[in-house]
C-alpha cells in the first residue's frame, strides 16, 4: 500500500496501544512485584524467572511513555513503573555493590550474575527516566552512581566484571553503543548534565566509529582496541541490527551537537550500508548475523529474522528521513515497514512475534522471553510516533 505520514502514524498508534495493552494486562506480578515477562502467544506465564534487564527495560518503557504521551500519563502506568523499580532496588540490584543480577526468581532470589554490564545499563536508564516521571531525586542519584561504574567498566577497565577471555584489548560494539545510549538517557535535555558527561559522550562516539572497517564498507561487531580488524570469524562478524541501532544513536548526537561529518557517517556507514548488506534479497527482512567475507557465520541463528532488528531499522530510517527529507529514504522506510507489519504483529493476541525463520515463518510463538520484553517494539513505536508528529507539524 502507499503509505503517507498520516496513515503510518495511525497504524503505529494502533500497534502501540495493542502492544502496551498486552503488557499492562498480562505481565504485572501483583504478588511479588516486578514483571512476569516470559509470556506465551496468548499472554500466559510460561516461566516465572525474572531477567533483570527485562524488568529494568519495562520500567524504563512505562516511565518513558508516561513522560511522552498524554494517554499514558496515567496513575496506572506510573504505579506499575514504581512497583517495578522497587522490585529492582530490592532484588535485582546486588546489595552493597554496583552490580545487578541477570536473573532472579519470581520472589526475587538471585539466580545468575553475568560477566557483562548490560543489566546495569538498563537499571541506570530505568532510574533516570523514572526520576523525571516522579521528580524523585534519589532515583537520579542512584542512576548516576551506577553510570559512574559503567563508565569505569566500559572506558577504563572491565576486569572486575570477570571474563572468560584471556586476551585483552578488544572492543565489542554493544559496549560503547550502550554507554552512549545510557548517557543520552541520563542527560535527556539537561544541558548541564550533557556538559558534565561531554568527555564520555565524545569517547563513545569515537569508539563506536572504530568498528567501521574494510574501507568503511562493514561495521564489525568486534575490533581491536587500536581500531584494527581482529582475526577469524569473531573479527569478521557483522550484526546489521546493532550497526543500524548505533546509527540512530550517532545521528541523534550529530543533530544535537550539529556535527555534519558525524551525520554523514551515521547515515551512510552505520545505517544505509549495513541495511543494504543485511537485507535478504530472496526472502525480505534483515539477517541477524553476517560474515564480512561471505562465509556462513558460525551462529546457528544467523539467517533468522528478529523483531528488534526491524524495530531499530524503522527508527533509523524515519530519523534519516526526518533529517534529509529524501523521498528514496521514505520509500525504503515503507518497504521495511511493510515487511515488518506483515510478519511480526499478532492481531489476535497483541504484541509481536520475535523470531522468524529466514523465510519469514514463526519460529517461536512466545511474546516475551529471556531476550524479549516490553522494550524494542514499544520503543520503536513511540519514537516513530514522536518523529511522525513532528514531521506532520512542520
Amino acid at each position: 500500500m502507499a503509505w503517507t505520514l498520516d496513515s503510518v502514524l495511525d497504524r503505529l498508534t494502533t500497534e502501540l496501544d495493542s502492544v502496551m495493552q498486552f503488557w499492562l494486562q498480562h505481565s504485572h506480578d501483583k504478588q511479588f512485584g516486578g514483571f512476569l515477562h516470559c509470556l506465551s502467544r496468548e499472554g500466559k506465564v510460561f516461566d516465572t524467572v525474572k531477567y533483570g534487564w527485562m524488568v529494568c527495560r519495562q520500567v524504563w518503557m512505562y516511565a518513558k511513555l508516561y513522560n511522552s504521551l498524554e494517554r499514558y500519563h496515567t496513575a496506572e502506568v506510573l504505579e506499575a513503573a514504581k512497583a517495578g523499580i522497587e522490585f529492582i532496588l530490592q532484588h535485582v540490584k546486588v546489595s552493597g555493590e554496583q552490580r545487578c543480577y541477570f536473573m532472579v526468581s519470581r520472589e526475587g532470589n538471585p539466580v545468575k550474575l553475568q560477566r557483562k554490564p548490560f543489566t546495569e545499563c538498563f537499571y541506570t536508564m530505568a532510574l533516570a527516566e523514572l526520576a523525571r516521571a516522579t521528580g524523585t531525586n534519589h532515583y537520579m542519584e542512584a542512576a548516576e552512581k551506577m553510570l559512574g561504574q559503567l563508565i569505569q567498566w566500559i572506558m577504563v577497565d572491565s576486569s572486575s566484571l570477570g571474563s572468560g577471555y584471556l586476551t585483552r584489548g578488544t572492543s565489542e560494539l554493544g559496549r560503547p553503543m550502550m554507554l552512549l545510549n545510557v548517557l543520552q538517557e541520563v542527560c535527556g535535555n539537561d544541558t548541564t548534565k550533557r556538559k558534565q558527561y561531554e568527555k564520555e559522550i565524545s569517547w563513545s562516539i569515537q569508539k563506536i566509529q572504530t568498528h567501521l572497517q574494510r574501507d568503511k564498507k562493514w561495521i564489525c561487531e568486534n575490533v581491536s582496541d587500536d581500531a584494527s580488524e581482529l582475526p577469524g570469524s569473531g573479527g569478521r562478524l557483522m550484526t546489521p541490527g546493532h550497526a543500524i541501532e548505533a546509527g540512530w544513536m550517532l545521528l541523534t548526537e550529530a543533530q544535537q551537537q550539529d556535527l555534519p561529518d558525524l551525520k554523514k557517517i551515521a547515515i551512510e556507514d552505520f545505517i544505509m550500508t549495513p541495511l543494504n548488506a543485511g537485507w535478504d534479497k530472496e526472502h525480505g527482512g534483515i539477517f541477524y548475523f553476517l560474515d564480512v567475507d561471505g562465509h556462513d557465520p558460525t551462529q546457528l541463528e544467523w539467517n533468522m529474522k528478529l523483531w528488534w532488528v526491524h524495530n531499530e531499522t524503522l527508527i533509523s530510517l524515519l530519523m534519516v528521513y526526518q533529517v534529509t527529507r529524501d523521498d528514496a529514504i521514505w520509500k525504503r522506510f515503507c518497504e521495511v515497514l511493510d515487511y515488518t507489519l506483515k510478519h511480526f504483529p499478532d492481531p489476535q493476541h497483541g504484541e509481536w512475534y520475535g523470531y522468524l525463520t529466514r523465510e519469514g515463518h514463526i519460529n517461536q510463538k512466545f511474546k516475551g522471553g529471556p531476550f524479549k520484553g516490553c522494550y524494542h517494539v514499544p520503543r520503536c513505536l513511540l519514537m516513530c510516533h514522536t518523529m511522525l508528529e513532528t514531521l506532520l507539524k512542520k
Copy 2:
C-alpha cells in the same frame, strides 16, 4: 532402499574413509602443531583459532582408529595424533593447573577459559586412548590425574570452575554423562581400572537416571540435586540427542556389568522414548531441543537438525539391535540412516554438513567449526562398523 547388515557396513565404511580423508588432508597444522579445524565446505581454513576440546577430540579419534582398524594402524595416523597431543600438553593444558583452555590461537596462546569441565573431559580421553596406542605410561598418568580433578568437580564440588549461577544444587545431564564416558574410555577393557573406578561409574549411572522425570516419559536436561524437576523453561528443557547419547553409554554399562534393569531403562527410557518424542513427524530428523510441556523452547535453534544428534541415534539404535535382535529396531535404524545419509554427507568434498534447518536444508556449509570437528561423525561410523562386523560374524 532395503538395507542389509552387509550393505550398511559397506556404505558406512566408504563414509568413514571419505570423512577421515577430509581431516587427514586439510586439518594438520604442520607449522604450529595441532589441528586447524574451522574448515569450509571445501576444507579451506576460515578461522585459525583452535578450540581445545576439538583438538583433543581429534587426537582421541585418530588414536581410536589406530587402535581399532588395521587400515588406520599407520604411522601417518599415529604421528598426527602424537603431534596433536604435544600441542595439547604445551598449549591447551594450563601450565601448573589441572585445567585446559577452551580456545587458543593458532600459535597456542590462550584465548578463552570456560566455566565448564568439558575440554578437560576430552583431554583425558585423548591421553588415555593415545596411551594405549603408544604404550606410553605418562600419557595414562596425565589422563588419570585429570580424571581425579573431573571426579572432584562433577561428583563433589565444581565451585573452583566458577559459575554465573548463584543457586546451587542442580544437575546438568552432560556432566554425569561425560564422566561416565570418560571413565569408560580411561578404563577400556582393564578390569583392574574398572574395579578402581567402580564407585564413580556407579555414581554416574545413578546420577544420569535422576534426569528421568514425569513418570519416566521425559529426560530433562537439568534437574535438582535431589532428583526433582526444576521450575520454568530450564527445568522443562529436553535435548533428545543428549538423552539418546546417554542411552548408549548406559546400555554399554548394562551389558558390561550384566544389569537387566539398567538395560531396560537404557533402551526404553533413554533411547526409544526420546527418539519417539524427538522425531519430527512432518519433516523427518530429530529436533535439537524440546519443552516437555510443548511450549516453544526459548533456544532459537530448537527445531534445527544437527548432525551429532543423528550420529548418536545411529549408534544407539544399532546397539539396541545388537542386544535385542528386534526387527522393529533394525527398521527404525534404517529409517534414521536414510534420513541421515540423504541430508548430511557431502559426496563432492567429503565430511558431513552439521547444521540443517527444520526442513532439512543446509543452514551452514562449513564442515568444521567451534562445535564440530573430527569426532561425532567418525566415532559413529567406527562404532557402527565394529557392531556390524560383530553382528555379521555371529
